[in-house]
């Protein structure tokens, strides 16, 4: 279409809009300061995905409930080894770091979070959590990605607005227009710098002032240039602050340390995403889960301590979730199988409702052995979008209005 007749280029040339912003070389346009790439509210969301399906009942234990001990004769945690959260629930001893933050009023816990018609496939359930779809709907974009799309209507959103510490980008951070940036380590951020051809192509394209008439060429080059800008920005930023905290010797610890350094360096990233895998505890659950929860909670404590030292804890909210909880009854392998509703942890220096926000799971009212969900996971997102990030929820999540949980 664009090759003959009235091309997109002509349109832009003639457009009144073209004169000002589009004549600035695109390389410069994208620099912070020329057009704002700042995180508008300065509030940061860190998402921790406990991949594999964390057993919420052995994380936050219904310690006064006989049904819990009856359902789990071999894997129930003993009362004297738990840390009291309230009359109904107590923390797994491995979650000491989280319990300390809870004690200080920096944690909100929401029980029984899930969605209707629960899906017990890891893939599909994670798909639903990341895309924030209805269980019967297939979305190709993630909820954070759509939040970036919504923001791009009023500001210049670059990939580094949402960062995942990994080699590949998860669905949650993919929007239609804007997609987040995935990298494993800022030091080896992108190999682009060692490939002269790619560097030259990016340079070359940056000097053009017009939109390319070939839609896909434009998209690929724009992504390349945005990647380069994001890379340069982050390489610069990551030099500012060096971590002073000790993190657990674990890939997750390293990743959270990178995030703390970027936040304390004043990086204008709005969302960070990190995954801690290994929670699919079908056999011999106790050792595996306790070790992972220990890594999680110790890391979280170091992370929050680091933020506090730079007075950033009040600008950061950490959301921890899993694709599903596990069945109430243990299985024959001293493990648990895929379940449904689960607890979600919110950690922040700006928590408005510290504590446990709703009733503990009702073990006497199960759906074929599984917990019934009471809180739709999208109300957690909706609360974060509206109260924390300042994004219009209706542009991100469809399917009705979700309750404001008020934790931030």
């Amino acid at each position: 279409m664009s090759k003959s007749g009235f091309s997109r280029r002509d349109f832009i040339r003639q457009s009144a809009l073209a004169s000002a912003s589009l004549m600035v070389p695109r390389f410069l346009q994208a620099f912070p300061g020329v057009i704002s790439t700042e995180n508008p509210r300065g509030k940061i969301l860190v998402m921790i995905q406990l991949a594999g399906g964390n057993d919420g009942l052995n994380s936050l234990v219904p310690w006064e409930n006989d049904l819990y001990y009856k359902s789990r004769p071999d894997i129930a945690l003993k009362k004297d080894k738990l840390i009291c959260a309230n009359a109904e629930l107590a923390f797994n001893n491995s979650l000491r770091g989280l319990a300390d933050l809870f004690e200080n009023g920096s944690v909100s816990i929401i029980n029984n979070v899930g969605y209707p018609d629960p899906n017990r496939s890891h893939f599909r359930s994670m798909d639903i959590w990341q895309s924030a779809s209805n269980p019967s709907q297939y979305l190709n974009t993630g909820w954070v990605g759509r939040a970036l799309d919504a923001q791009s209507e009023s500001r210049d959103v670059k990939p580094f607005a949402a960062i995942e510490i990994d080699d590949s980008l998860t669905l949650a951070l993919k929007g239609e227009k804007i997609k987040g940036l995935a990298f494993n380590n800022p030091k080896t951020l992108m190999p682009a710098y060692s490939n002269p051809v790619i560097r030259k192509v990016a340079n070359d394209f940056s000097t053009h002032t017009e939109v390319h008439e070939h839609q896909q060429v434009e998209y690929l080059h724009r992504t390349l240039v945005d990647t380069r800008l994001s890379t340069e920005y982050l390489m610069e930023k990551s030099k500012v602050y060096k971590s002073a905290q000790l993190y657990p010797q674990h890939a997750f610890g390293k990743k959270m340390k990178i995030i703390a350094e970027l936040i304390n360096s004043g990086c204008s990233t709005m969302v960070y995403y990190v995954s801690l895998p290994g929670f699919d505890t079908h056999v011999l659950q106790k050792i595996t889960q306790n070790n992972l929860l220990q890594v999680y909670a110790d890391t979280l404590k170091a992370f929050c301590g680091e933020l506090k030292s730079a007075d950033r804890f009040r600008d950061v909210c950490v959301l921890t979730f899993s694709e599903f909880g596990r069945r109430v009854a243990q299985n024959k392998g001293n493990g648990t199988d895929h379940g449904t509703a689960n607890n979600v942890y919110i950690v922040s220096g700006a928590i408005k409702k510290p504590g446990i926000l709703n009733a503990a799971p009702d073990l006497s009212d199960l759906d074929e052995g599984d917990l019934k969900y009471r809180v739709d996971f999208r109300s957690v997102y909706s609360t974060l979008l509206n109260n924390w990030l300042g994004v219009d929820v209706s542009k991100v999540i469809s399917g009705g209005k979700f309750e404001d949980l008020g934790f931030v």
Partner: protein, 463 residues
């Protein structure tokens, strides 16, 4: 008028996995539409994917739970093998169009199960029907064991119907979301599919006692419908032809739909009794297929990209699971679509990380360097405490290509390679960037370096 080479490469990139320079040389003077006709002849005879043998074969006894569990445990490794076997087949098969269509149907009838053998069976069902009629294909897929398990139809019983298959057959396989069906149609259709299940030997079976034999009302028609009747009712609707042709057009021609053209093709498709070969022939022998706006407008998918490298450089990996890991990082693992809606494709393939990886792969192949990327662990994995990063080494063989290019000098090397590799010529590629990498005095190195540079251009991602 663009060169015949561009058009031939266009045809083969869409109807197959592209041509290497020596392959292109052989056919470069043949009229492109003649080559298009030939593609159908070369896809008549073919072989299936025969990597795994039937784990139940020869065993007449009842298949125990233990045996089934053992099959699931073995399946992961087998899926890795099956994945590699199909990629190799795509790169080597003579019946390229049939392989490409099989790949298309794999995405259309998106399925994933923990039984490698059933996935191979389904793959062969898709392949044998790939160029036949959509009618037979749809009937076969509806009785396909892997599909039944994937969409839980084994749980669809008269006493408690499961609507999953009935919903997806309308929403994703035939009519398209929200088109010409109601929630009530889904409910009634689900009743017609009750009792369609898979027995313990992994075979399709109808359990009469779980089938609902009563009257149903679907699309305003009443009858004692069964699953076959529902499929026929769906095929009676022109919307099915429209939806399938629209999807084929987006995949094989241009993601921007040309409405009147698709409507015309859909009516032909419907009138031909859903003849897939005829439809594809109409597309590949049309004039509009070779118009500039339809060339080089698709972002190549990760699988097509890997097959292309296999064809050019005989790329292989030290371990099959590395090949899978690379597919995973790039966002497309054969036999593991993300969900029943399949891979979205197009710009969804590209984000910062995946683009940088794509652009760097040619150089990694050229240098035999280690590719330092790690896939996300599987949900079932319990990773090591200190998850070790392991790079992957891509092995390749440049010799045949080098020998050919040395013998066949056709003007300037960079121009020649650009012509073979880039499907959107005339756009503002800065040729100087390519010319700058030239290596004086070493012909081999000059060719490989120049080719790697051409393949590092973002435009190489467009087919």
């Amino acid at each position: 008028m663009q060169s015949n080479i561009l058009h031939i490469q266009h045809l083969f990139l869409r109807a197959g996995f592209g041509l290497t320079p020596p392959e292109l040389e052989k056919v470069k003077d043949v009229p492109v539409k003649k080559l298009a006709e030939n593609l159908f002849d070369t896809s008549v005879s073919y072989s299936g994917l025969n990597h795994l043998s039937n784990p139940i074969k020869g065993k007449e006894d009842e298949v125990s739970n233990f045996r089934i569990l053992k099959m699931i445990l073995k399946s992961r490794k087998q899926m890795e093998e099956l994945n590699s076997a199909w990629l190799d087949k795509m790169a080597r098969a003579k019946a390229v169009l049939r392989e490409k269509m099989t790949f298309f149907w794999h995405n259309h009838f998106s399925t994933s199960t923990p039984f490698a053998w059933l996935m191979q069976e389904q793959n062969n069902t898709l392949r044998s029907n790939a160029l036949g009629t959509f009618r037979e294909l749809l009937h076969a897929v509806s009785k396909d064991p892997a599909m039944i398990l994937y969409l839980n139809n084994q749980q669809n019983k008269k006493a408690a119907p499961n609507e999953n298959f009935a919903r997806e057959v309308m929403e994703l396989f035939t009519l398209g979301e929200g088109n010409e069906y109601t929630e009530k149609d889904i409910k009634e259709a689900a009743r017609a599919f009750t009792g369609w299940t898979v027995n313990r030997r992994g075979e399709f079976e109808i359990e009469g006692n779980h089938h609902d034999w009563e009257q149903k009302e679907i699309f305003g028609k009443k009858g004692n419908f069964n699953g076959n009747d529902v499929i026929d009712l769906l095929l009676e609707k022109k919307q099915t032809a429209r939806y399938v042709v629209g999807k084929i057009y987006r995949e094989f021609v241009n993601e921007n739909i040309h409405k009147s053209r698709v409507e015309e093709l859909a009516l032909q498709f419907y009138d031909s009794g859903y003849d897939i070969s005829r439809l594809m022939k109409s597309i590949f022998t049309s004039d509009w297929f070779y118009e500039d706006e339809n060339i080089g407008c698709r972002i190549i998918s990760p699988v097509e990209m890997l097959v292309r490298y296999k064809k050019w450089f005989d790329v292989s990996f030290e371990q099959e699971k590395q090949q899978l890991a690379l597919q995973k990082v790039l966002g497309q693992v054969l036999f593991f679509p993300p969900n029943v809606a399949g891979w979205k494709g197009g710009q969804a393939w590209i984000d910062s990380a995946s683009l940088m990886l794509r652009l760097n792969i040619p150089r990694v192949i050229l240098k035999g360097a280690e590719l330092d990327v790690n896939a996300k662990p599987d949900f079932e994995d319990v990773p090591d405490k200190e998850a070790k990063r392991k790079g992957m080494v891509i092995k390749s063989n440049w010799k045949p290509l080098l020998a050919f290019l040395k013998k066949k000098k056709d003007g300037k090397l960079s121009d020649q390679l650009l012509e073979h590799c880039i499907q959107c010529p005339g756009y503002r590629i800065n040729k100087k960037i390519i010319e700058d990498v030239a290596v004086e005095g070493n012909e081999d190195e000059n060719i490989t370096t120049t080719l790697a540079a051409v393949m590092s251009l973002p435009e190489f991602q467009l087919i």
